[in-house]
Amino acid sequence: MSNGALLRCCGLSAAVEEKQILHEIDFEVPQGEVHVLMGPNGAGKSTLGHVLMGDPVYDITAGSIEFDGADITELTPDKRSLAGMFLSFQAPVEIPGVPLRSFLRAMVEGRGEKMKNKEFRKQTKALAETLDMDPAYLDRELGVGFSGGEKKKVEMLQLLMLKPKLAILDETDSGLDVDALSVVSRGMELYREQCDGTLLIITHNTRILEHLNVDRVHVMVAGRMVAYGTASLIEEIDAQGFERYEAAVAID
């Protein structure tokens, strides 16, 4: 892109039921980079992820979101998805009665891609195997009775199928087990390898970042962006926590 940024937020503020959660967020993610969003519990990191994706629970009260050169502030989530944005959910939903494969098919067809059933089955099966996922899961109801690790596999499977321009991975739940962690790491690696994807990773867990070259770290406290820096910031936060940022916001 000419001006470099795939995603840009300008003065983005958002509220849920009159309660202001995000305050004038400014930040951008250039094409092809890996960014990490960190911050203490309740800082609004997941909210930001959901607002970027267009979750109707939140009202955008000021500011704008630009994606791939267009203003998407008013777009519904499906339009944002079609424009190339992807959000991996911290806690993916369960949809009884809808087989995973049917859902994936609807997802692909929603993009106007015509694919023969046989080819589609082959592709989904191959992707499942890449992620060490039992292909039998493709015939099960979406999310129903899946373990945390299996749910993450389904998220990564979708990421690799859709090959979005930007993947926002919401991994704020520090309760991820080792299995789920490795699934997410593997998914991110493949995504980077296969389509030189752009990543915004929301996490507490620095282990997830071990095999990635992080370009930039953003720190969020109490709904505001309070700092940014290079990958070295991760180690610093690991060692010292968020106290000094929280103190700065309190004085402010």
């Binding site: 989530p77 499906d78 959000l87 939903v93 049917s102 859902f103 609807a106 997802m107 067809e109 929603g110």
Partner: protein
């Protein structure tokens, strides 16, 4: 900021059923209910004397009992204005070409002749008060199966058998509309499956009510003898009028020892219909009845198919779905009577309400003192698509036997915004996301329907993503 835009799952598209023909050619009796009208119906049919007596007695019962005082209001139904008998301008035919054009066109548009050619062993088609078509494949006839209009059967080989069964499961004294049915019933099918005979393809009767302000009162009587097997499908629809129409049919099913009957219904009456239908089945030893029931139409519906498990180890299952949209109050469910040792029944239903529709699941499970070792499970789930709609669950259990196992579970929920958001975040439109969730909810029921009906049901719930399922 801009208002959040929320679209809805579309209401059921009934346009394919909503067409009508002028009924000027039809012979109608006066509206209302008098002994003279009942006599005239009987006379026109040239039926046996006992049937006229049955009708007149039923009329007396009708006049002597009150309307039920529970369930949705039927105040909009004025019996003095309902035309109880409308004869289409034709006799019953056994080939579609002989059926008058308007009527043939109606059934063409409903896909009946096509279905008959592709997967049915026989078809009966009723238009207003009379059957206009009845036919069965020769191979089925050779097996000794009888599938005909019940009125003609009253004069045939099985006349005495019919007399011994007719309105014994549903006596006219049972409730007001059973009495009404006894007085003015007209049309309907008779099926007899001899001992040990198993029919691989279903029989189907389709009931179409075309006349404005009329009632339809068909009587279906099915006898499946010991060790025999039958699948029977019933469909119904009507064009919409701005006055009330009434459907008070009766279905009586007799399942012999070790016999099996599957009875599937997709009901699509228009939204001016009062559907006050009664269905009952009696199962003998190790006999099995399977009810599949989809209720999508009607303004007001009362429908509770009943299974009487009279023989040791008899079984019943009831699988039902009800979709109540704007202006609909559908009170549906089932009744089970465990009346012999070792019987078992399972009930699984789904209810959907939207746009102010009211959907109520009502069930009654009775275990008699003879039901030693019997069991019954009831599971009902309801989904409300918005805040204006309503779902209720009213289960009743009457257990008079110590050694029985009766279970009930019910859940009522709303369509989750988090689920809609999740699907939309994958590029699926809001309508499609909701349709997907609703169809997923309905899936345990739709998979039980005959294929063509499952497709129809999915279309009814406006699932525009064919090929995505399965």
């Amino acid at each position: 900021m801009a208002e959040k835009k929320r679209t809805q799952v579309d209401d059921i598209d009934r346009s394919m059923y909503d067409f009508r023909y002028d009924d000027a050619d039809a012979e109608k009796l006066d509206a209302g209910l008098t002994p003279d009208i009942v006599r005239e119906i009987s006379e026109r049919k040239g039926e046996p004397e006992w049937m006229l007596e049955h009708r007149l007695k039923s009329l007396e019962v009708y006049n002597s009992i009150d309307m039920s005082d529970w369930g949705p209001s039927i105040d909009g139904l004025d019996m003095d204005n309902i035309v109880t008998y409308v004869k289409p301008p034709t006799e019953q035919k056994s080939d579609w070409e002989s059926v008058p054009d308007n009527i043939k066109d109606t059934f063409d548009r409903l896909g009946i002749p096509q279905a008959e050619r592709s997967y049915l062993a026989g078809v009966g088609a009723q238009y207003d008060s009379e059957l206009v078509y009845h036919s069965m494949q020769e191979s089925a006839a050779k097996m000794g199966i009888v599938y005909s209009g019940i009125e003609e059967a009253l004069h045939g080989e099985y006349a005495e058998l019919i007399r011994s069964k007719f309105m014994t499961l549903i006596p006219p004294t049972d409730h007001k509309f059973a009495a009404l049915h006894g007085a003015v019933w007209s049309g309907g099918s008779f099926v007899y499956v001899p001992r040990g005979v198993r029919l691989d393809y279903p029989l189907q009767s389709y009931f179409r009510l075309n006349a404005k302000g009329a009632g339809q009162f068909e009587h279906t009587l099915i006898i499946v003898e010991d060790d025999a097997d039958l699948h029977f499908i019933e469909g119904c629809s009507a064009p919409k009028y701005n006055v009330a129409n009434l459907h008070a049919g009766a279905v009586e099913l007799f399942v012999g020892k070790r016999a099996h009957l599957r009875y599937s219904t997709i009901e699509n009456w228009s939204k001016n219909m009062y559907n006050l239908n009664t269905k009952r089945c009696r199962c003998e030893e190790e006999g099995e009845i399977e009810w599949i029931s989809g209720s999508f139409g009607s303004h007001v519906g009362y429908l509770y198919p009943m299974s009487i498990l009279a023989g040791r180890k008899a079984r019943a299952s009831f699988t039902g779905i009800t979709f109540a949209g704007r202006g609909q109050n559908l009170d549906t469910g089932c009744k089970v009577v465990l009346a012999a040792p070792g019987t078992s029944a399972s009930v699984e239903t789904k209810g959907i309400s939207k746009d102010g529709g009211i959907q109520t699941f009502r069930s009654s499970v009775v275990a008699t003192p003879a039901a030693n070792g019997s069991r019954c499970t009831v599971s009902c789930q309801s989904l409300m698509l918005d805040d204006r709609s309503r779902s209720d669950t009213i289960p009743a259990m009457d257990i008079r036997c110590k050694n029985v196992d009766i279970g009930h579970e019910a859940t009522i929920g709303r369509i989750g915004d988090d689920k809609v958001f999740y699907l939309m975040s994958r590029g699926v439109s809001e309508e499609e996301a909701k349709a997907m969730i609703v169809n997923g909810f309905a899936e345990p029921i739709s998979k039980e329907l005959p294929l063509e009906y499952a497709v129809e049901m999915n279309n009814l719930i406006k699932l525009e993503m064919e090929g995505a399922i399965g």
